[in-house]
């Protein structure tokens, strides 16, 4: 059980990394892209926007005094 927990912790740390916000933003933006593209509207611009938003917020959060 503890090995499973260790493996789960390792996978979480490796995939999600230091800041869970980045993974969350990526997942939300992908879901938005799928929803908007599914409605037949161009959705290619959403992920680049997510890159700017996710990286900016993560950096400013990390460096808050």
């Amino acid at each position: 059980m503890s090995r499973l927990r260790t493996l789960a912790a390792f996978l979480y740390d490796f995939v999600v990394g230091d800041d869970p916000l980045i993974a969350a933003v990526v997942l939300v933006m992908l879901a938005l892209t799928a929803a908007i593209a599914g409605a037949g509207v161009p959705a290619w611009w959403i992920l680049p926007l997510g890159v700017v938003a996710g990286l900016s917020i993560s950096l400013y959060r990390s460096t808050r005094a």
Partner: protein
């Protein structure tokens, strides 16, 4: 031009693109975390990949390619943004430049302190390399099976993919020495830009979006990621410069 020639060229080029991504990741892991861990990671991933392809075989064509692109794109994007974030924090002075080396050295020292034989394999370097080779290799497997079965010539598709892999590996070995002179953080930054750009492209494609300009959009995404991260780097440097002297000499160490 015969259909066989077209098949070979298409699979060769597509596999070479995936190969460049994988070799870039292995090179970065090897140069920054040690070659042993990176090469063992790449080797284990190759064996795992061979096992997956052997077990699943032609059933791979049944898996929706968009789902694979979505998953691979999401992982590449999360992974790339993590690398970019750390590289910007280091370049702006918010994070020590060689903290991962220090952590690795501390782990080895801790192993020795409790009388355990040091593992010798750096987990971070291993997994970075493993993941890069496995994910990109899976994409190559899909390309080979999809193109090959469409043209009823899987052996030729396999040959094209192997030729591309060989070329990319030889090129990777050739640029290893010059790359070792590039500062560690610059290398990580460059890999972060590449992973983010590719992740954005494949993630959006997998989610059903279509890029203006098709595959050429990857170049625009690389430029976009470079400019965006460079601007954020400048902003972070200014932010660090505004810190009181007590913080600037002893910067906070965000994770």
């Amino acid at each position: 031009m015969s259909s066989d020639s077209l098949l070979f060229i298409a699979v060769f080029l597509a596999s070479a693109v995936e190969g460049v991504e994988a070799v870039t990741i292995v090179l970065a892991a090897g140069l920054t975390r040690g070659w042993r861990s990176a090469l063992v990671g790449a080797g284990v991933a190759s064996v795992a990949l061979a096992a997956i392809v052997a077990v699943l075989g032609p059933a791979l064509t049944a898996l929706p390619i968009d789902i694979l692109r979505l998953v691979v794109g999401a992982l590449l994007l999360i992974f790339g943004l993590q690398w970019l974030r750390k590289a910007i924090l280091r370049a702006s002075g918010f994070k020590a430049l060689h903290d991962e080396d220090a952590i690795f050295a501390a782990e080895l020292a801790a192993d020795r302190a409790i009388g355990r034989e040091p593992r010798g394999i750096d987990g971070y370097g291993f997994t970075v390399s493993f993941k890069g080779v496995l994910l990109e290799g899976l994409e190559v497997a899909f390309i080979v099976v999809t193109f090959g079965s469409n043209q009823h010539n899987i052996p030729l598709a396999v040959l094209a993919a192997l030729a591309a892999a060989l070329l990319v590996i030889v090129a990777g070995v050739a640029v290893r020495a010059p790359l070792s002179r590039v500062p560690e953080n610059t290398l990580k930054y460059a890999v972060g830009v590449m992973l983010t750009a590719y992740g954005t492209f494949w993630g959006a494609e997998g989610a059903g979006a279509h890029w203006p300009g098709g595959d050429a959009a990857i170049l625009a995404l690389i430029a976009f990621t470079l400019v965006t991260s460079a601007l954020l780097g400048v902003a972070m440097r200014r932010r660090h410069a505004r810190l009181p002297a007590s913080f600037a000499t002893s910067p906070p160490t965000p994770k």
